[in-house]
Amino acid sequence: MTLVMVRAVIREDKLMDVLTALVSHGFTGATVYRAQGMGGEGGVVSIRGSARPVLIPRTVVEVVTDEKRAEEVTKIIMSAAKTGEVGDGRIFVIPMSAAIRIRTGEFLSE
């Protein structure tokens, strides 16, 4: 089975909602990063004539899952992270070639 990495750039204060939604659907694994985002209109201001991008606090949630369940993960994240306002973020899906559990060395397929 092929694995993919679902990588969602979300609002910082939606993190707990997203994780809780994932867990309640049986996805108990995820890795979370603090990041900053630039995006859409409004992300650039000009200070003394020169453009300066404004970075907005973001959280990135990374869930590795098999290809078939990727859509489900995407939907869970979308419904939990959505406010309907500009800046809700993006979800990126990246193909992977392997995933290994360090503790056991087993290759994971989900």
Partner: protein
């Protein structure tokens, strides 16, 4: 004239304690603003005394000649406190007032503009207003001027001269600067667009610990502020100190409780607002009232501080994240108004209403406060308007990026 050694120690130590409150206000502000304005807040704390003190030492003898004689502040017959020790003590109160105003209007006034206001404040506004009440000026004689007896405006340690003053001046400035982006959008019911979200999220008290440190240093210094405003070491000193210890603490306990009741959490910001609000309200009263009165004040200040802050939060056009208007303004005004009510004969020169004192005093006190504070409001309004006209209001862009970068070139990771 001879040096009164114990009074001189008392006022020197008092001034030193009050001194640390000045930058502590910068710390307090730093803990309550966006992370990108932390260094700006702390820098304002430093500049409050860097600008005020040199100006003050040069001009105060002109404004305060009413209470100085022969190079001394006369505290009794033939003895006194050397003039510049007295000047240092009073001057520290002035710099505290300036720092408080700054904290009441954070994040949107550019540093240069703030320094210009600071100069006006230091050379003219505060020396003048404070001298009316503390320097033998007309408000300290208002009763006689109006033919209402010996009464004058009495303000033990600065309920009006410092706190109501700062609360109102900060409010005027913050009003004229207009709300921050976040507030504006909330005002117009705009949503969480990226930029406003950025502001919103960065108010998450990322460095709340500095506010706590600021509060600690403020309470510590307040024992000099109130405690040593007795000038001489006497029985009165136990009231100025004891009441300070009680009122601030009790008000903090009250707001803690209120936050638990209303927010289901022991909100540290509410606790700090209570501690400081209680200290503010007892300030004009500290040496004039009996110990029991500080319990009344503590409870009152807890209520005023908590509900005052919640009340202000509704008015999005007032952008006062530090709670300067409710904590310093409301409590300072109410505390000052209570002086002619609660003052105990023997401690204060006149008896308060509850001790059968004259209502005339209350009239004189309220009128005097109104005169002083109207002057503060009017002059602050004019100066701020000029500053805004001159372009010292940070642009939306500058506001977003934060004054640390814009004004100080500091970008912390």
């Amino acid at each position: 004239m001879q040096v009164d050694q114990t009074s001189t120690i008392w006022l020197a130590v008092g001034g030193i304690l009050v001194f640390i409150m000045i930058p502590a206000i910068g710390m307090l502000e730093a803990g309550l603003v966006r992370r990108v304005n932390v260094i700006n807040a702390m820098s304002k704390g430093l500049m409050a005394f860097a600008v005020f003190l040199p100006a003050w030492f040069a001009v105060f003898p002109l404004y305060y000649h009413g209470v100085l004689s022969d190079g001394f502040y006369p505290t009794g017959e033939g003895v006194g406190v050397p003039m510049y020790v007295y000047g240092f003590f009073i001057g520290a109160f002035g710099a505290v007032t300036l720092a408080l105003i700054g904290a009441g209007a954070p994040e949107r006034l550019k540093f240069g503009g703030w320094l210009i206001f600071s100069l006006f404040f230091s050379l003219v506004q505060w020396p003048l207003v404070s001298s009316w009440i503390w320097g033998g000026g007309f408000l300290s004689n208002l009763g006689r001027l109006l033919g209402l007896g010996d009464f004058g405006v009495l303000d033990f340690a600065g309920g009006t001269v410092v706190h109501a003053y700062a609360g109102l001046a900060g409010f005027i400035i913050t009003l004229l600067l207009g709300p921050s982006l976040r507030r504006t959008r909330l005002l117009t019911n705009g949503g969480l667009s990226p930029l406003i979200y950025k502001e919103h999220i960065e108010y998450k008290y990322a460095e709340l610990q500095y506010a706590i440190l600021g509060t600690i240093l403020l309470y510590f210094g307040w024992f000099g502020f109130n405690g040593m405003s007795t000038v001489t070491v006497s029985e009165q000193s136990q009231y100025s100190i004891g009441n300070t210890a009680i009122a601030g603490s009790l008000a903090g306990a009250i707001t803690a409780l209120l936050s638990r009741i209303h927010e289901k959490t022991w909100n540290p910001v509410a606790i700090m607002a209570g501690l400081l609000g209680g200290l503010v309200m007892i300030t004009p009263l500290a040496g004039f009232v009996d110990i029991w009165a500080s319990y009344v004040v503590g409870v009152l200040a807890g209520l005023v501080s908590y509900y005052g802050m919640k009340f202000m939060e509704r008015y999005y056009f007032i952008d006062d994240p530090v709670g300067s208007l409710p904590v310093h303004g409301f409590n300072g005004i109410l505390g000052s108004a209570l002086v002619p009510v609660l003052a105990k004969p023997g401690l204060a020169p006149f008896a308060g209403l509850i001790y059968g004192g004259s209502p005339a005093w209350l009239g004189v006190q309220l009128l005097g406060m109104a005169i002083a504070l109207s002057f503060v409001v009017a002059t602050t309004y004019v100066v701020t308007l000029l500053l805004v006209k001159a372009g010292f209001r940070a642009t939306t862009e500058e506001e977003l990026v934060g004054l640390d970068v814009v004004d100080h070139g500091v970008e912390r990771p």
